[in-house]
């Protein structure tokens, strides 16, 4: 089959409108960044909370944490998107559900960020739990022996160390968030993958389109990686075995 290359396609106008294809891609990048960053913020907040609670000696909290993690880990993200978008509004009280379906601003974006954030929080929670578990037991005992309460021991001794230890695995989770945000296309968020499909159909220049979008995802992943590396370097615990850079 012949393929007609056209690298100028990005500056051409879309079939039904004034804007160029470049404009579509820039909009897509904006939504990808918005969904990913909002989801990551939510995932960090919830994930650190749930992960920490799973390490506390309390049966009820442990069961709750385990349920949280298993629920989000054993259903495909795409199905979770559909659950939040189509099923959850039906479970709300009727007038709330109606408001969500009809009046809520940017409901695709809010749903996608919420869903991706909760999904990622389960994975962050597992990393945080492993981080707390990797600390020497003496750290907690020493803190308690010094007269700190358990919350104080977590606040001043355990978490400051554990959270630094888990930065490398969290870096790959952060990069995963950008990749996973692509699934938001399925509920109509106009992010990069949505724009890629739309531009491919509209322009029939699939290869150029996908190359550009792939490059944009690469840049996102690279930026996420460098950002986390910067935080890692800034927050390194002196005296632990960690390679600089």
């Amino acid at each position: 089959m012949d393929y007609h290359w056209n690298w100028g396609i990005f500056l051409e106008q879309v079939k039904a409108g004034e804007e160029t294809y470049l404009h579509w891609l820039v909009t897509g990048l904006g939504w990808t960044l918005a969904v990913s960053l909002a989801a990551w913020l939510l995932a960090l907040l919830l994930g650190i909370t749930v992960g920490t609670l799973r390490t506390v000696p309390h049966k009820g909290l442990a069961v709750l944490g385990a349920t949280w993690v298993e629920l989000f880990r054993n259903i495909p993200l795409l199905v979770q998107m559909f659950l939040w978008f189509f099923v959850v509004p039906e479970l709300l009280p009727p007038d709330w559900g109606l408001w969500v379906k009809q009046d809520m601003l940017a409901k695709e974006f809010v749903t996608a960020a919420l869903c991706l954030g909760l999904f990622t929080s389960a994975r962050v929670a597992e990393q945080v739990r492993a981080g707390v578990g990797s600390l020497a037991r003496g750290q907690r005992d020493a803190a308690l022996a010094l007269g700190l309460t358990l919350p104080q021991a977590y606040r001043h001794v355990i978490l400051p160390q554990a959270l630094r230890i888990v930065i490398p695995p969290l870096t790959s989770e952060f990069m995963n968030v950008f990749k996973n945000s692509s699934i938001a296309f399925a509920i109509g968020v106009m992010e990069l993958t949505f724009q890629a499909r739309q531009m491919q159909e509209d322009s029939e220049q699939g290869i150029e389109t996908y190359l550009a979008v792939t490059l944009l995802y690469f840049i996102c992943a690279f930026a996420a990686n460098r950002g986390m590396a910067w935080i890692e370097a800034r927050s390194r615990v002196p005296g632990l075995i960690a390679k600089p850079g």
Binding site: M1, Y3, E70, L71, R73, N74, I75, P76, L77, L78, V79, Q80, F82, L83, F86, V87, E90, P94, M175, F178, K179, N180, S181, S182, I183, F185, A186, T193, A196, R197, Q200, G206, I207, Y210, V213, T214, Y217, F218, A221
Partner: protein
Amino acid sequence: MGEFDFSVWGPSLPFIRDGLLFSLRLTLIAMTGGIVIGTLLALARLSPFKPLSLAAGAYVDTMRSIPLVLVILWFFLVIPFLTGKPVGAETSAIITFTAFEAAFYCEIMRSGIQSVPRGQVWAAQALGLTPAQAMLNVVLPQALRNMLPVLLTQSIVLFQDTSLVYAIGAKDLLKAADVVGKNYNRPVEMIVLSALIYFAICFSLSLAVRQLQKRVAIVR
């Protein structure tokens, strides 16, 4: 819509079964092919021959940094150009998942191979095995056994990821639920059903893997 009507689940079952069978078939083929190709990629990555290890590394890193949905779209677009004729969404999905998962299985096998103690290789050499025989008969069996739980966990992730063939319209479990939901005008109930099936399968498999993990650990 308002109220739920789960009676749609009954008539949907034949469609759901066909969809589920495709999802499972896709998972098994991509898993088998992925582990074989992934092991070859791992050997290539560990090869002292630089061009080979660089090429394998570039392939693996590229696959791992692109969203799977985009990879699915890429293959669906490019395969017809390579073969000269259009292929169905199902065939395209099988090729895509095998190629994509190979990159992930590669990294697992690579760390598995690297976790085998060096003394094993020396002992094999001392016994007169050629490097290829040592790899095939001594190193790989141990690597595979060490990594079995991780390989299976990755395969559960793979099973969940097959739902993404939605992007090109292949008829998997989720698509079947989607179609029935539209035909009977009961999309909400069908999404719930598909979520329950995915959860039941993935949760019981991950419990099984956890049991296995306790049993296969090599006693040293």
